[in-house]
């Protein structure tokens, strides 16, 4: 029997952040030496989304690569990460 918890969190951000990191690592074939960071910021410019997710890929000795997904973290899907 399934039980729907009415207190269940709405956005589950810690879990979703971990998932986005896993998707990024798998997509780019990143090893443990590479740090992946995920952050969420708002954008004030017209035409930009209200909130965007920024993924940082930090390879030792290299400039940080960023991937911007124009969605909040909670709504990012695997196919958004390119």
């Amino acid at each position: 029997m399934s039980f729907v918890n009415p207190l269940a969190p709405r956005r589950a951000l810690p879990e979703k952040t971990r998932q986005i990191k896993e998707w990024t690592r798998a997509l780019r074939g990143l090893d443990d030496q590479v740090v992946v960071a995920v952050s969420e910021i708002a954008c004030r410019d017209e035409g930009c989304p209200d909130v965007e997710t920024v993924i940082g890929i930090m390879r030792p000795g290299e400039k940080i690569e960023t991937i911007r997904v124009h969605k909040p973290i909670a709504e990012v899907e695997q196919s958004d990460i390119r």
Partner: protein, 389 residues
């Protein structure tokens, strides 16, 4: 000369930062503390609610420090340094109380060696004279889990802490306290496995211990923290190019546009019962989208002694009476921070409730409820753990 220790005091909206600061500043050992209070919103209220002794220096800044790449924190510290150099104040440490929505990463980058580059004499003087000694993050036992799950700022505040403090544990029924603490800790540990977790109502807890001299070491807090600091620097440098903006000093807005702050004021004293009714109606309608409300109320029953009101999401706390007004402004002043709520219906409900117009209140309440219905249907229905009192 030793550098002055700077501590960040952070925690999500309503976690009890000002309460802790009041406890701390009543300790004579902390008389030599400079306090910087940063508030989200245009009208500062917290400075009225924090009792700063005569020997302490306080600065209040509005607008979120973490959103200003112009480095408000460095400017404020430079001003404090200038005052000390002129002999106008003496302090041994600085405590910066952030807004409840602050992202600590940019503030920390501004205060650690190897963080944001120093630009100009001001930044170099700050770097030579101040050092980040600790980040203390407060977590409300009632709303902490929801904040962690639903607001990214709360996640980062917890991750960057070198001390975590559980607050409002005295409000939890004794029999339920242990299980509530364990549940919350289980959510905190994956985000921050390093920081000691303390209980603000435990026997022997001394607030001053949170702000003892130490070295803040982000590297000891794990890859997430290191990654966020590096990503923060990268985002800052990318902002002009990514947005076609050539103004390199423009800040990064870290809070979604749905987060609104607005203020309600009223000249005439208000009846206590109608005010409680207004807060109850608002809390019932807005629920978790009322992120925070706080303010000073001029109650008709005793105009010489104002009351302080606090609400956090679905919790409206009992009014607390002050001995006197903190300044010459005797108006009722309420600051709201909301998630997706238009200020105008709240303003109308406020006026209608305090003018005691029942039919108008009902109409405004109905309109307000209808507006919120579409916002709330997707949200989890949170039980009301504390009725408005």
């Amino acid at each position: 000369m030793n550098n002055i220790s700077v501590f960040l005091l952070t925690g999500f909206l309503g976690a009890g930062k000002s309460t802790l600061l009041n406890r701390l500043l009543s300790d004579p050992d902390f008389a030599d503390t400079a306090v910087v209070i940063n508030e989200f919103g245009d009208i500062a209220i917290d400075h009225d609610l924090v009792h700063v002794g005569k020997t302490q220096v306080a600065r209040t800044t509005t607008g979120c420090m973490c959103c200003t790449a112009g480095s408000d924190i460095r400017t404020t510290l430079y001003e404090l340094h200038t005052l000390a150099e002129a002999g106008e104040t003496v302090f041994k440490r600085v405590i910066v109380e952030t807004t409840g929505l602050a992202d600590p990463a940019p503030l920390i980058n501004d205060l650690i060696p190897g963080g944001s580059p120093a630009i100009g004499l001001r930044d170099h003087i700050v770097a030579r004279n101040f050092e980040l000694a600790g980040v203390v993050t407060l977590v409300d036992i009632e709303t902490g889990t929801a904040a962690l799950q639903n607001h990214f700022e709360a996640t980062k505040q917890i991750a960057f802490a070198d001390r975590l403090l559980l607050t409002k544990t005295d409000l939890v029924n004794g029999a339920e306290l242990n299980s509530a603490v364990e549940r919350l800790k289980a959510g905190l540990l994956p985000v921050n496995p390093s920081a000691p977790i303390l209980d603000s109502s435990a026997a022997g807890f001394v607030p001053a211990d949170l702000f003892r001299q130490r070295a803040y070491m982000p590297a000891s807090l794990g890859d997430d923290v290191i990654g966020w600091l590096a990503l923060e620097a990268a985002i800052r440098s990318e902002v002009p190019a990514a947005h076609g903006n050539t103004d390199a000093v423009q800040g990064v807005d870290r809070h979604a546009g749905r987060i609104r702050t607005f203020t309600l004021t009223r000249e005439q004293p208000v009846e206590p019962e109608t005010f409680r009714k207004f807060m109850g109606l608002l809390s019932d309608s807005a629920g978790p989208r009322l992120l925070r409300a706080k303010g000073i109320v001029n109650l008709a029953e005793d105009c010489a002694r104002p009351a302080v009101v606090h609400a956090v999401q679905h919790m409206v706390y009992p009014l607390r009476t002050l001995d006197a007004w903190p300044d010459e402004d005797h108006r009722t002043r309420l600051v709201f921070i909301t998630d997706g709520i238009d200020p105008e219906p709240v303003r109308q409900l406020f006026e209608a409730a305090l003018d005691n117009r029942p039919s108008y209140i009902y109409r405004r309440f109905t309109e307000f409820g209808a507006q919120l219905k579409s916002l709330l249907h997707s949200a989890v229905t949170q039980p009301r753990r504390g009725a408005p009192r």
